[in-house]
Symmetry: C2
Subunit: 344 residues, 2 copies
């Protein structure tokens, strides 16, 4: 018999249409027995350390999205990427005391029934929260999206939207290290300053201050854009299409401007995909999981050498997780949004 | 001194907004001296045999399109792909009597100032008009678009819009020869019959009879579409996006539904590019000119072996060229639209 301890959880209330609210989630004070049941199969019991707030979680709040649809279950905890410590394991790859990252519940303690979705950490000499970001899924997204999808050449012009977010800040820095000219956009002066002064983008602008996105892009890219790292969609994509160069590449990583709309915005300039022989590729980090070892080794080295800067926006306490998640869609976070559940 | 002979020309009247009309072109009865002037540089004088009517010519009627914009010049002859016979040449690669294909003027005799845009014919044991289609630019478009852009696998599901046109009919047949399941759409019963009974598509439908394109595609592709060969754009693309499978590929070859609109239709379902990791690639045949020799050898063999059928819609006389071109946008042609200028 294990000890019975409090276990706060963030439960999903019901499917969301339109803009999600904090009240679409409920934080409850439950309990858990810190022992896997006899019939637990190959489950793993973990203690949650960090939760990751990522824009793609919005799609799990809708009842149906595309063919590979996955949704949260009303009345059950939200789930997503996180960092955790193994308390007990019936799965041979993980043992008590292991630090892992992967899909966990939004709760203080979580029984993971699909432990193949938990990954070992290769390095523990950096903040463990980095595995929700630069060393985890968003990092792999930036790396695979930029290097595999965009096939960048030194000297090319790169535009990144939502550029101060978990993925955008890394894409910009990978692009600079690769010898590209990089401009980013974000939604506040603070974020724009971060892009220019901390992440080393060549330039950056606040898209909320631009009444004409096409004109803004022409100002920053008078010769046009070779590579667009798409995190936004809608009107931004439309303006970018007008400014792409021949043989341009668009890595479609996210479309955060569209997630909360009941009806998506139209995109009107797709003829430019044809006129300019543009390659536009949607992707997900785990399509490229085979390059994770190479990615994590290289990125760890770049961090240690001070060649990559990483900014997190850290919120304390599971009670604040719903607000942190909603904040993403309002652009409240500055850098990667993380929630600390327990000290390491 | 060369002989002075009549030279009918199709002149471009002025830039077009919206749907083009026959009266946007004028057929004039001019004259030409059948001798290159002394200062003709490396020009080539040709006699036109066949003119090719292709949807992309619409873009040359607008004042400005994209970064690689090229337009017809008001008061000058229309130009486009054609088949011709060399009468005189100051360009070392071509000599009197050569049969060539490439960019020529819409006129009975044409002085070609960029003779590098004229290509030799590798085979002359098929109708020469084939070099405006199956052995020329549309053929290379179908071949490169399908094999290079779509990277098809045997057993995959392929959807082709505008499927009875010069490119579509070939894509469908290449896909069948490759072991794919192929469905095409077109705009009349006659064309649908052609797809099913002559070109060997697995199935075909008349898009004009479908009030709900999404439902139509679900009927023909209950498991979804792996490869979409896009000739249409707009609402068709929107419906296709809903029906693409994970890791689907879209070769953007044309968007004929959009060329004559003053404002393009919006496309609302691009989020599926992300959700399904779709690769959407705009291309032009000449991006892939390096594979022309392989393409023409293989396609010539397939025609000779009776494994590929090719249907042309042939109109006689340069006077009828404007109507033939406009007819493309009304879907009047059945098969590749060609205009005969002179017998071989």
């Amino acid at each position: 018999m294990g000890a019975v301890v409090p276990n706060k959880q963030v439960l999903f209330k019901d499917y969301v249409v339109g803009f999600p609210k904090e009240s679409d989630m409920v934080v409850t004070a439950g309990e858990i027995t810190l022992r896997l049941p006899e019939d637990a199969g190959n489950s793993v019991l973990v203690k949650s350390l960090y939760l990751s707030c990522d824009p793609y979680l919005r799609s799990f709040m809708s009842k149906l999205v595309g063919s590979n649809a996955q949704s949260f279950v009303p009345g059950k905890p939200i789930f997503g990427f996180g960092v955790a410590k193994v308390l007990e394991s019936k799965y041979p790859d993980h043992k008590e005391g292991d630090l892992v990252w992967g899909t966990i519940g939004w709760e203080e303690y979580s029984i993971i029934k699909e432990p193949q979705n938990l990954f070992k950490m290769k390095y523990t000499d950096l903040p463990l929260s980095y595995y929700t970001g630069i060393l985890g899924m968003p990092g792999l997204t930036a790396y695979a999206g930029f290097f595999e999808i965009c096939a960048p050449k030194s000297g090319e012009s790169v535009y990144v939207s939502a550029a101060s977010g978990a993925v955008g800040q890394l894409v910009g820095q990978f692009a600079k290290l690769h010898g590209c000219f990089v401009v980013g956009s974000a939604g506040s002066k603070e974020k724009v300053d971060l892009l220019k002064n901390k992440f080393g983008f060549d330039d950056a602008f606040n898209y909320k201050e631009e009444s004409d996105l096409n004109a803004a892009l022409k100002r920053y890219f008078p010769e046009g854009i070779d590579i667009y790292f798409e995190n936004v969609g809608g009107a931004m994509l439309d303006a970018v299409l007008l400014n792409m160069k021949k043989n341009g590449r668009i890595a479609v990583c996210g479309m955060i401007s569209q997630y909360n709309l009941e009806k998506a915005e139209g995109v009107f300039n797709l003829i430019h995909v044809l006129l300019k022989s543009i390659r536009m590729v949607g992707f997900q980090a785990f399509d490229h999981y085979h390059i994770y070892p190479k990615f994590v080794e290289e990125t760890h080295r770049l961090i240690k050498e001070g060649k990559i800067i990483y900014v997190e926006d850290i919120v304390e306490g599971i009670e604040n997780a719903p607000a942190a998640l909603i904040g993403l869609f309002k652009g409240r976070n500055v850098g990667k949004q993380v929630v600390v559940i327990a000290p390491e």
